[in-house]
């Protein structure tokens, strides 16, 4: 088994599924000869030809809209939006059309597309390259939102997303693309889309997070261990619809919960989880659910972005507020 990075795992999943299913078509800006600005699609044009690995004109609404038309006609398009800051122009198509094709035709049509897009800050990129739009997508009916945080989960969840009969927005944590390697068996096995992943068990506090923040949250669990606290770490992985049961079960055991997200706080997905845990877990909660999130401001450019993304220390502080609450 190969030790590969998250972005390599995505590349493998794409290649494996294209091999298995001739309806799978890749599309996006620079996904062809260039192999994608993050190299996620490298080698695919050579293997599958430019008809199935489409370098598109520079138009995101067109990419999303074409993917819809292709999906309805029976293909399984996997479209890349180069950065999630350029995905806002696809919202109209995803919300008003992709998520409604099946519904509005009473099942006559379906729309099995995947919209892949790199998300999150921390790579010293220009403006609009550090966005975390997952809550906006998770608010939309009829779609799934998936956000892996390790090479293995990226591989398995991307396969599941491509095979899913409904539209999936697949967020990829740019910060983790090459941060670490993991053994990934390229055996075409998908992971389930309806479950959280418990990455670490613990009895004192439940840390809930997803995407890039999983890394800092695991770091925070280490730091808490040094302070004598055992933190349970849950990677939500699929944000819409999400597996609240696993989170509630954990909070049932720990009585404390911290939700970590780098998106702006107001109306972010951390608020969704905090609201649901507070609503349904109130009897087990021994402290208010803490949100440790990005601030309600524009993600700063490179020089200040590190002060924006929740740090290990902020997560630890949030956990201590929960644990030491009385």
């Amino acid at each position: 088994m190969a030790q590969i990075t998250l972005v390599e795992a995505i590349n493998r999943a794409l290649a494996t599924e294209m091999e298995r299913d001739s309806d799978v078509v890749i599309m996006g800006q620079d996904v062809g000869k260039d192999g994608g600005v993050f190299r996620a699609t490298v080698g695919l044009t050579d293997r599958f030809g430019p008809e199935r690995v489409m370098d598109t004109p520079l138009a995101e609404a067109m990419i999303a809209g074409m993917a819809i038309g292709m999906a309805v006609e029976g293909l399984k398009p996997v479209a890349e939006i180069q950065f999630s800051g350029f995905a806002y122009t696809t919202i109209d198509q995803i919300l008003n059309h992709a998520g409604r094709m099946r519904y509005r035709t009473r099942g006559r049509m379906s729309c099995p597309l995947v919209l892949r897009t790199p998300c999150g800050a921390g790579i010293h990129a220009p403006e609009h390259h550090s966005e975390s739009p997952e809550a906006m997508f998770a608010h939309m009916p009829g779609i799934r939102v998936v956000y892996p945080s390790s090479p293995r989960r990226a591989y398995g969840l991307l396969l599941a997303s491509i095979r899913d009969p409904d539209p999936v927005v697949f967020c990829e944590p740019t910060r983790l693309y090459r941060l670490f390697r993991e053994e990934v068996e390229d055996d075409a096995t998908a992971l389930p889309l309806d479950t959280c992943f418990t990455l670490r068990e613990g009895t004192d506090v439940t840390l809930v997070t997803w995407g890039g923040m999983v890394h800092e949250t695991l770091g925070a669990a280490d730091a808490l261990a040094e302070l004598g606290y055992a933190a349970e770490v849950i990677d939500v992985a699929t944000l819409k619809p999400y597996d609240l049961d696993t989170i509630l079960a954990s909070v049932g055991r720990t009585g404390r919960c911290v939700v970590v997200s780098e998106a702006p706080r107001t109306a972010g997905f951390a608020s969704e989880i905090a609201a649901s845990v507070s609503e349904q877990g109130l009897l087990s909660l021994m402290a208010p659910v803490q949100r440790v999130t990005g601030y309600d401001t524009v993600v700063p450019l490179a020089r200040l972005e590190k002060y924006y993304i929740p740090s290990v220390e902020r997560i630890v502080a949030g956990a201590r507020r929960a644990i030491e609450f009385s």
Partner: protein, 363 residues
Amino acid sequence: MQPVARFEIYYTQYLDESGRVTQPFPEFAQDTAQLIDLYRWMGLMRTYDAKAIALQRTGQLGTYAPILGQEAIQAGVGSAMRSDDVFLMTYREQGIQLMRGVTMKELFLYWSGDERGSDYSGPRGDFPICITIGAQATHAAGAAYAIKLRRQKRAVVCAIGDGATSKGDFYEGMNAAGTWKLPLVFLVTNNQWAISVPRGAQTAAETLAQKAIAAGIPCEQVDGNDLIAVRQVMDQALTKARNGEGPALIEALSYRLSDHTTADDASRYRSADEVADAWKREPISRVRNYLTGLGAWDKTREEALLKDCNERVQTAVQEYTATPLPKPAAMFEHLYETLPSALEPQRAELDLNGDAGGADHAG
């Protein structure tokens, strides 16, 4: 100085507003039986349309968008398309829908606010009505790409309005069609109005056809009130598209003789004179005049046609009104292929409150 590029826009017409022949007919139009068949379709469209408005006025239908005045475009396009072609449409294409096999009952259901009206029993591959103006232009490019990838001899027709030609999606879809040389024909129904905005306030372009020059695809204008011209120009474009010769754009010039929808009052923003003038060019009478001139049509046949149309529409109305209302739980059906378990509590909540929700909100 020599130009580095040069473009021309042509206009096609065979029958003028009084039904006079302005140039030799294409082959299909020399077959009078075919013309009569299309004339009948136009009659059915107009009868259906009037009934839909009547149903709305008597509270039996929701807001409705009439097709009055656009019957030649719709019969021309409807007859030029094949059943395995794909149609993407606006909310004002009911005539084409009828010709493609959507039932009047389905149309009434749709316009009553019932999703089942988009589960077409006829053209299973036609896209549902696109209400967000222009978005279907990119869907059309995607569908056409799939067809091309699979080396099928089918074409896609994407219908949009004059107002829609201002939307970015329209240009992005055209550009895709050009870039990949897709089997896709854009039909721009220029009915001169986008609700209250006249064609001239929508763009400084002299023609809407020329917008396709931006995408490097062939484009032309046609008299959209001339059934023969529309059918002919569309047929040629579709044949090319099916044969792998790429996309085209056709601007069909017509006029929206009705209000924008039953919720609109066009007299607020356009003069009665303008509308009266437009009536002179309306599409049905010129075919009737032509056929009558040939001796192929007369008052008796006209009356029989009207009677037949009325009966067919009446039957559809009965089927429609006899259809039971959908169940509230339908809102959780077909949302995903299988309802995710995370949504089950919400469906249960709906069941619990189904009746309680039965009161109108806006009083």
